[in-house]
Amino acid sequence: MNRKRLLNHKAPVTPDLSKTRTGIEGFDEITKGGLPRGRTTLLEGCAGSGKTVMALQSLVNGARLNNEAGIFVAFEETSERIKTNAKKFGWDLEVLEKRKLFFLNAQTTPDLAQSGSFDLGGILAAVETKAKEINAKRVVFDALDVVLALLGDPAAERREVYRLHEWLGARGLTAIITSKVGNRQSLLDNQPNLGFMQFMVDCTVTLNHELVRGVSQRSLHVVKYRGSSFSENESPFVIGEGGLEVAGAREVAGGREPGWQRTSRSSKLTERLSSGVKRLDTMLGGGYYRGAAILITGFPGTAKSTLAGAFAEAACKRGERTLFISFDSDADEVIRNLTSVNIRLERFVKKEKLRLISARTVSGSAEIHLMQIKQLAKTHDARCVIIDPVSALAKAGNEETAYSVAERLLDWSKSSGITLLCTSLLQEASSSTEGTPLQISTLADTWIHLNYLVHAGERNRGLSIIKSRGTSHSNQVRELMLSDKGVTLADAYTAGGEVLMGTLRWEKERAEQSARDEELATAKKILAALDNEEAEIEVRIKSAQRELLAKRSQRKELNLLTSKRIHAFANRRTQLSELRGTDKS
């Protein structure tokens, strides 16, 4: 009562006192605080679904994180076997067992003689004694179904479950009961008391384990949680190096520790990182942004991995710890292939700046990959993470989950301030669109697309920046050229709305040059011809003028002659008339 009143006055961000954290990554988020404190939780699932691990893990975490002692009652497997199995998780059970953890072996021998009715009184007495001794707050009854089956009578089973529940409630122990169930269909037919158990407890969690096209997929699902809201979706989980890791619910992922996210991002908002290719940095206005998610898409062989390698090398040169995960090739192959284009990663691998992981042969669900990537990035303390190609997450059996996984991948990298570079393979079939199978292109900050341009019997690599948030980037397609000197970008030749590359670009350039030369020659010829004509005309003008002058002088002479003649004629008439003696008229 007191506890509840207290809760109402608290702001929603403070931890819910009615709950106790399991310390299992993701699970506390889904349940918004963990298991109901002082109450009972049923963990059900088929054999091998991870019930025992989860129950033990929450007990171990209770002891480690909350300093709450716990008791583990093992009905099916011996505690020795459970401890051996849990060794790989590194929980230091031996240390905890000294004061904070107690295992109670409660296996019944199959040949145990029975006569009439019996109950769990002995176990409860033992737990009670131990609980007082070590001041235990938590208890696990692992595989309660095994012991209930001995009762051989549904009514007796129900009675015992009821009694156990009452007993636990009276002692205020936070309890986990695990119980095996068959497959979902036959669940209620074969175990009529499971429904009763679900009804009794305050919280029920179902664990599933199935193979989807050969890929192991584990998920858990909170079926009920009295007095609390919870994520009702199925949440995938893996049993990793440290135990269970549950993929947190989406809505939770966005809302974690907002203050932390803000500071970590704002300081990095303006920092630019080299892509490892000088011209590309220029195209991007200085490089990628720190903490950005970069996507490089393209068909097989368009040098996606090379660009990824260039980025890795640049990061290592800056002294940043980098994680490179290749789903395509072995680590040696990656190094060899990149060395051929003068990207030398081996030295950084040796210096342990670069962690090069080949996940080529690892088959697993997208969830498993995501968790492994996170785990690797964490242990390597990576600032830059490269996944080549991220489309490997969407391999057979993963289609449904791959998108949400990719989304969470980006979400995670951003909130942890990691610069993430993913390549994504495009199939020829979808070549008409530049969309990626995972649709992460919409989430990425920078999207670089590599393409082949086939023309005149040649394939050339073209690079274009489709988008780059917060950057004034070049919109031109550049030709990407690989040589033993490294990666370079060349201006693609644009002519008449066509992008030309390779030999074609060279040819076109040559052709235009010679055309220009020819034009010049022609013009020169014409000019010379014009000169000639002009000269000719000038000559003609001169001769015509001479002619004109000649004609003029001729005319002058004639005029003179004519007037002389007239004059002479008149003289002769006078002489004649004088001769004839004509009278003067």
Partner: protein, 90 residues
């Protein structure tokens, strides 16, 4: 009841649970009938002496342990069926 009784039993009970009380009654009746003066019974309440119960590995109650003769044999339940009891007498 002498210390040298050929049959010595320990009956672990859980407080005053109905099947535990029934087990006490049934055990006494069976012993009276079949073992007369040749037996010895010790009744242990697991809630009062949990350490003994744990040492004995008593998880389900009521539980009868035939301590003597060796080897120890166990029967769980209220002993309402006499056959398992008769078997450990042989």
């Amino acid at each position: 009841m002498s210390k040298t009784a050929p049959f010595r039993f320990r009956l672990y009970v859980a407080g005053d649970a109905a099947n535990s009380l029934q087990a006490i009654t049934n055990l006494r009746a069976l012993c009276r009938e079949h073992l007369a003066e040749r037996h010895e019974i010790e009744i242990i309440d697991v809630f009062r002496e949990p350490k003994r119960a744990m040492a004995e590995g008593v998880l389900l109650t009521p539980m009868l342990v035939r301590v003597c003769p060796e080897p120890p044999l166990k029967i769980i339940g209220d002993l309402s069926e006499s056959r398992p009891f008769m078997q450990i007498l042989e």
